[in-house]
Amino acid sequence: MQSAPFDYYRPETVAEALDLLASVEGARPLAGGHSLLPAMKLRVANPAAIVDLTRIEGLDQISRDGDSITIGALTKHAAVAASEVVQTDCGILSDAAAHIGDPQVRNRGTIGGSVAHADPAADYPTVLTALGATITVTGKAGERTIAADDFFVDLFTAAHEEGELVTSVEVPVLTAGQGGAYLKHRHPASSYAVVGVAAVVTVDEGQCTAARIAVGGITGKPERAQAAETALVGEAPSEENNAQAASQVPDALANPLGDIYASGEFRVHLAEVLTKRALADAFARSGS
């Protein structure tokens, strides 16, 4: 099916884009297009106008500033996956990016677009939540920064206001003693994450001192498994502890979503299994 008719604008600066979004009725921003365009072709999204952001310069840079890495919103998944800075200092993010969709999706899709779309079956929201990342949005009133924990609100609903654009994502540099892993169960037809679990752990002198576990694909947004996190802290990492922590994950996942491929109950089971495996990988990468 073809999309409904729409007008097309191609601004060259963020300011111009913000003006267009404010003044053109029904305008929606377009980045890589791999979420918006399929929705338009199915006519579940029918914007009167598209504001194509892809010619705006300077929003696709990756840079390390001290203990964080800033990634421009228009950075493609393939670039995040291939970035030496991200691979070295935040490997869980480059790993996740390398497994988004397929090569065509990775060569066009952007981190800003993925994050703004807030699809529970996406990979970045889960990983960014586990990392404690922040998302910077820019509006007419200026820039503001939102923690990942607060940014993903619900199904396809993110915290930025209409008229604000995601302009960058900031992730922490993982230091010695820290490790992260992201595992997902891929839908065999769409390749989306049916369930994805991201775990980021810190180990100091043989003891786990911090853990963040995010589970995506169960509800409308990534859920933190806080009881599981608490169970790990203060203990020496072990397979038994990972299993014990993973067994607390289902309690954090009330009212799971389900579909014709996987019921909510099965997704919760997958979440527990993937948590155990992700923790094993994360601890192994922390060097402990």
Binding site: H187, P188, A189, I260, Y261, A262, S263, F266, H269
Partner: protein, 128 residues
């Protein structure tokens, strides 16, 4: 192992066999048209209806015999159906063989992860 009589184009013959084997395995493991109670097709796009991609299956080792038929001058026969017909029960039987010690005797195709998981859960509950 297949036999289509004398082979004229080996590449096409191998391609036919590969395709047949994959399609048969797909029926056992992935493909499944689903409808709702009113007859609306739910798996209406390739985002919902799963067919295997190249990396879903391992490489194949093919063997052949060549038994000419006497009902045509070239002795040639058709190719492709053996793969597609035989691979479905082969894959299905392998999965059921693996599940048998857990008390599972019946699972509907396609053998999705959830169906296998539920069969194991049900068998274990039945045993209690």
């Amino acid at each position: 192992m297949d036999d289509c009589g004398p082979i004229i184009n080996p590449m096409i013959v191998e391609g036919q066999i590969h395709g047949g084997v994959v399609q048969g395995a797909a029926q056992a493991l992935w493909e499944g048209a689903q409808y709702d109670d009113e007859g609306n097709l739910l798996t209406g796009t390739m985002m919902d209806y799963a067919i295997p991609k190249a990396d879903f299956l391992p490489r194949f080792a093919l063997g052949k015999t060549e038994t000419p038929t006497d009902v045509n001058p070239l002795g040639v026969k058709g190719v492709g159906e053996t793969g597609t017909i035989a691979s479905t029960p082969t894959v299905y039987d392998a999965v059921m063989d693996a599940l048998a010690p857990l008390g599972v005797s019946q699972v509907d195709m396609p053998l999705t992860p959830e169906r296998v998981w539920r069969a194991i859960q049900d068998a274990q509950k039945g045993g209690e």
